[in-house]
């Protein structure tokens, strides 16, 4: 093995340690959901589907939902309502970088739950949402 290959291999290992898989991120929500409710069993893709598409009346008077910006199918790219900037697909089936950084996942749940529901989401809601999005093939 050449010296460069060894260096490359070491660096890739370091990168892999830092990145998580969606399953690992989901596990942290499972742990929290069990803490919140000891009788919790598992997340529901159907529940997440309903949550994702539910139109909510915002206090501003507008109808809002996850799907409004992320589109009806999380495989599709969306568009930011105000800035027109593309929102890359949510589903890892179409965008493998999604849900691989726990801090980033939390950051966006915190922001978007405030923007849509005007409150924080609980672990159950986050887990159902992720389970639905991960189920998209």
């Amino acid at each position: 093995m050449s010296k460069t290959t060894v260096v490359l291999a070491l660096m890739l290992t370091a990168a892999n340690v830092l990145a998580a898989s969606p399953g690992e991120v989901l596990q942290t929500y499972t742990a929290q959901a069990k803490k919140d409710n000891p009788s919790f069993k598992e997340f529901s893709a159907a529940g997440g589907d309903k949550f994702y598409h539910a139109a909510v009346k915002h206090s501003s008077g507008k109808q809002v939902s996850c799907a409004a910006c992320h589109t009806d199918n999380p495989r599709n790219a969306g568009k930011h309502e105000k800035t027109s900037k593309e929102i890359l697909p949510l589903a890892p089936a179409a965008n493998k970088d999604r849900f691989t950084d726990a801090a980033k996942v939390e950051k966006w749940f915190k922001r978007n739950c405030q923007d849509v529901l005007e409150r924080e989401c609980n672990a159950r809601e986050k887990g159902d949402f992720m389970t639905y999005v991960l189920s998209i093939k």
């Binding site: 490359l8 830092l18 105000k82 950051k107 922001r111």
Partner: protein, 167 residues
């Protein structure tokens, strides 16, 4: 691509990814690329606007209200907020070497604290020939979407000859 070049390129990518995270874990001061976080965070929902197009007072005000950022929650953790604020302040209109920075700054009243580049008199003057209908075209959307017409905007190129207005 020759194999060696590919290997070097891959190393560089891995480094770019691994280093900031490593620095954060060790709680060290952010090194080599101070603009990396600004770019990553501020370009999630819109183009990362040039820090030199607003004065320090504007960036400080904007960064202190990220949880209500033009009607949206764009909140960041305290460390990232401070790091990005420092970057914006050290490249603000007062400090930037961009030739337009001084024009933006010079167009402002002394007590004005604009939160949008589009509110500045210099921006308005430079766009006064753009009809309201043009801003509303689907491919433009709003004056905040610089890159719709300024195709080199992300490289800081706002020159008139590189303007292409979509139909």
């Amino acid at each position: 691509m020759p194999r060696r070049t590919l290997v070097v390129a891959l190393c560089a990518c891995t480094f770019a990814f691994a280093l900031p995270a490593a620095a954060q874990t060790a709680n060290q001061t952010p090194a080599a690329n101070p603009g990396a976080k600004w770019k990553a965070e501020c370009s999630s929902c819109h183009m990362a606007y040039p820090p030199g197009y607003l004065p320090e007072r504007s960036w400080r005000k904007l960064m202190s209200g990220l949880d209500k950022h033009f009607g949206e929650n764009a909140g960041l953790d305290a460390v990232t907020t401070r790091e990005i604020t420092d970057y914006l302040v050290s490249n603000s209109a007062e400090k930037s070497s961009d030739r337009r920075a001084g024009r933006f700054l010079g167009s402002l009243a002394a007590n004005a604290i604009p939160l949008r580049i589009t509110e500045t008199p210099y921006f308005r003057r430079k766009h006064d020939e753009v009809r309201p209908e043009v801003w509303k075209r689907p491919k433009v959307g709003s004056p905040a979407n610089c890159i719709a017409c300024h195709v080199g905007a992300e490289r800081g190129d706002f020159s008139e000859r590189n303007v292409k207005i979509p139909q």
